[in-house]
Symmetry: C2
Subunit: 418 residues, 2 copies
């Protein structure tokens, strides 16, 4: 099908989402017989609604390649959520209008499960209006919580950051001739994939003693007993936990502090954070020793200098595969990854129906968490090691600082203010 | 002078203090005619008092070389402060006793200005008792606040971490189509060298908009006005500041929060931290937008994977130079670095009397801070760029994780419990 392509980025950025963008752009630009223009929406779906998008054919291909080592969403992201189709058609009608105006026949959306839901709804609407457009989801989330796919682009790099950083924190946090308890707060609202990555450091002999995930109830008294036991034995304790762990009565850690102020974001999610500080405060009243609270914060999703080589390649291939699938006539799928049943790990592209992944969440298999609920089992390490492997070759600036892609952002839409 | 050598590490760890240890060990072990045994004290001066030290001649030289890429204090650190000599001689007498027992004739202490004070006092005491021992300080501090020397080993790597991380945070913190203010808290109690390193990111076009250092009074109303001005213009603001900034009436940021709990450490320093959260809370009541608080925490002093090549080499050379100076009969000096008056930067070793550096603190030159007190001037960039330069070659484990030195720690002292 001849027409134009538009690509957008959505949700929280990762170290490698731009590698997927590079895969989409470079692949699409090499099929000019079918794909005439390659557009990138500014701030995801918002850019489409506002006709704010760029002509990627005007960019220097070398700079597009540098997107592979440029963290965060180079095209700008958004957290805008489309209304349910049955409630309000306005945005959908506007998208159709824009797609018609610019002859968009390929729509690629790069994000997590919220974004796959957006893709799915848009495609459904376009089909109902008999507008022919191939809609493909390109996965992206450090959270690794998308259904069906073996893993998500973004996870391996965040996990490599977490494993490396925990190894380094271990060296630092165990250095004094005095007791110390160190709490490390890691992202992950509902699934513990990221905090679990700290088990890689532990397996190297320099990592956390205790790891708590949202897959298990966070029992504060049990946690304090765990910490006390390690402290009595070693004098130093490193505790990693997901920001999203909850007590039996559904409270997040910051809610255990009576002074906590909790607000919700545009998606109705509670704004977490400060959980390590809260834990430090509470445990400090029970175990009198030096206590440190560390939050890995944005660094875990933007530290491209520690991206995993496999993750960069997987992300790039996901972008390429999306274009190839669309050209082969596919639509309403997300590009995912399968894992070989046996033998050494290798990347295998898998096409997954959007409706299966939209809004679904994948948690850690129960058997990968230890019986005490404070550590990971061997099968988790077997799973994660291929994903975090390899230091990618990187082009640095003459001083050894990162060299990010420098895009021209040639405006191609008739931008309207909204 | 024939005898044995003891080396110890003190104070907060850095990414490269072990590179200095490697320099001392490898150089000293190559002079076995004069230096018979090379000992390393466990936990610095505490290890000497307790006869808890290791025989470094028993280690695999390859592992000693790997100390160049192993962060934190591999021999263990301490924050133990000797009493003033006039107040209490007990520890000094004990050190003399241990030095005599093990025929220690070379004493190397690796630390910041507190440690140089320790060196100086110990040397003074040994001399007063006619015990011949060469005492050399090896500098180490991410704070870069030692007097006379152009820069301190440890600073370049922490600065490279800060510059790189701020470039990555910039990518992330400016990605949404909505306002955001991001506060980044950086170490530095009295001098702003570390927070100033974020200006390197700004000079690359992706860094903080505002930088506040303890060299200038922290005027909260002025700071909020600065933020408001940038916010109105750009919609996104990144603010870096030293944890040690103080208001005109001497208050640290956490003290501006009425709920703050402030305790002091063994050196009588206030325990800071949580300043970014406090600022976020205060500014959030004045500028209603999304606000993020980030603390670079321990990572800025232990992220060896981002060490600067020059810093690793300078640190190693400082260790070597200490041994060479001692063998040449020098004592009561700290190894420092001079900067060529003109021409391209190159490392020049400088020997500085201990009494000049003990307890002295070097701040940023006033002319390097801009008139508004919220940014850095060009001469600072000229100063810092050579120090943060270069990505060192690193040996990684087969998965691309860090490979730290694995030492045997062969006990060589008759350890006593204290």
């Amino acid at each position: 099908m001849k027409g134009n392509l538009i690509y957008g980025q959505s949700g929280g950025p990762t170290s490698v989402i731009n590698a997927s963008a590079a895969g989409v752009f470079l692949e699409a630009l090499s099929h000019s017989a079918e794909i005439e223009k390659v557009y990138a929406a500014h701030h995801g779906i918002v850019g489409i609604l506002q006709e704010d998008f760029f002509d990627m054919g005007q960019e220097d291909p070398q700079e597009l390649k540098l997107l592979k080592q440029t963290p965060s969403s180079a095209l700008g992201s958004c957290r805008y959520k489309l209304a349910a189709l049955e409630d309000d058609e306005t945005d959908y009608a506007r998208i159709l209008e824009v797609f018609k105006k610019y002859n968009i026949r390929y729509f690629f959306y790069n994000g997590g499960n919220d974004s796959m839901d957006t893709c799915s709804k848009v495609s459904q609407y376009l089909r109902s209006k008999n507008y022919d457009c191939r809609v493909i989801g390109v996965p992206k989330t450090i959270d690794n919580d998308l259904a069906v796919t073996d893993h998500c682009p973004g996870y391996g790099s965040a996990a490599r950051y977490i494993a490396t950083t925990l190894m380094e924190i271990y060296q630092d946090a165990t250095v004094y001739d005095a007791g110390q308890i160190t709490f490390v707060e890691i992202m992950g609202r509902h699934a513990g994939w990221l905090a679990a990555a700290s088990a890689v450091a532990a397996a190297q002999g320099c990592g956390p003693d205790l790891i708590y995930l949202p897959e298990r109830v966070f029992d504060l008294e049990k946690v304090i007993a765990d910490i006390q036991e390690v402290y009595d034995r070693k004098g130093k304790v490193i505790v990693c936990f997901s920001e999203g762990v909850k007590t039996a009565d559904g409270k997040f850690i910051p809610e255990l502090d009576p002074q906590a102020d909790l607000s919700v974001d545009a998606f109705g999610h509670k704004q977490l954070g400060g959980a390590a500080e809260t834990l430090a405060k509470i445990v400090g009243t029970r175990i009198p020793t030096k206590i440190r609270a560390i939050e890995l914060s944005l660094m875990q999703r933007c530290a491209a200098h520690l991206a995993s080589e496999r993750d960069v390649e997987d992300s790039f291939r996901a972008g390429q595969a999306a274009v190839q699938a669309a050209l082969a006539g596919k639509t309403d799928i997300m590009i995912g990854f399968a894992r070989p049943d046996q033998g050494a790990y290798q990347t295998q592209i898998q096409e997954i129906p959007l409706e299966v992944v939209a809004n679904a969440e994948k948690k850690l298999p129960d058997a990968w968490i230890n019986a005490a609920g404070n550590g990971l089992e061997e099968p988790f390490l077997d799973y994660i090691m291929p994903l975090i492997s390899g230091q990618p070759e990187r082009i640095l600036d003459p001083h050894g600082l990162p060299r990010f892609a420098r895009l021209k952002f040639v405006q191609a839409g008739q931008k309207v203010d909204k």
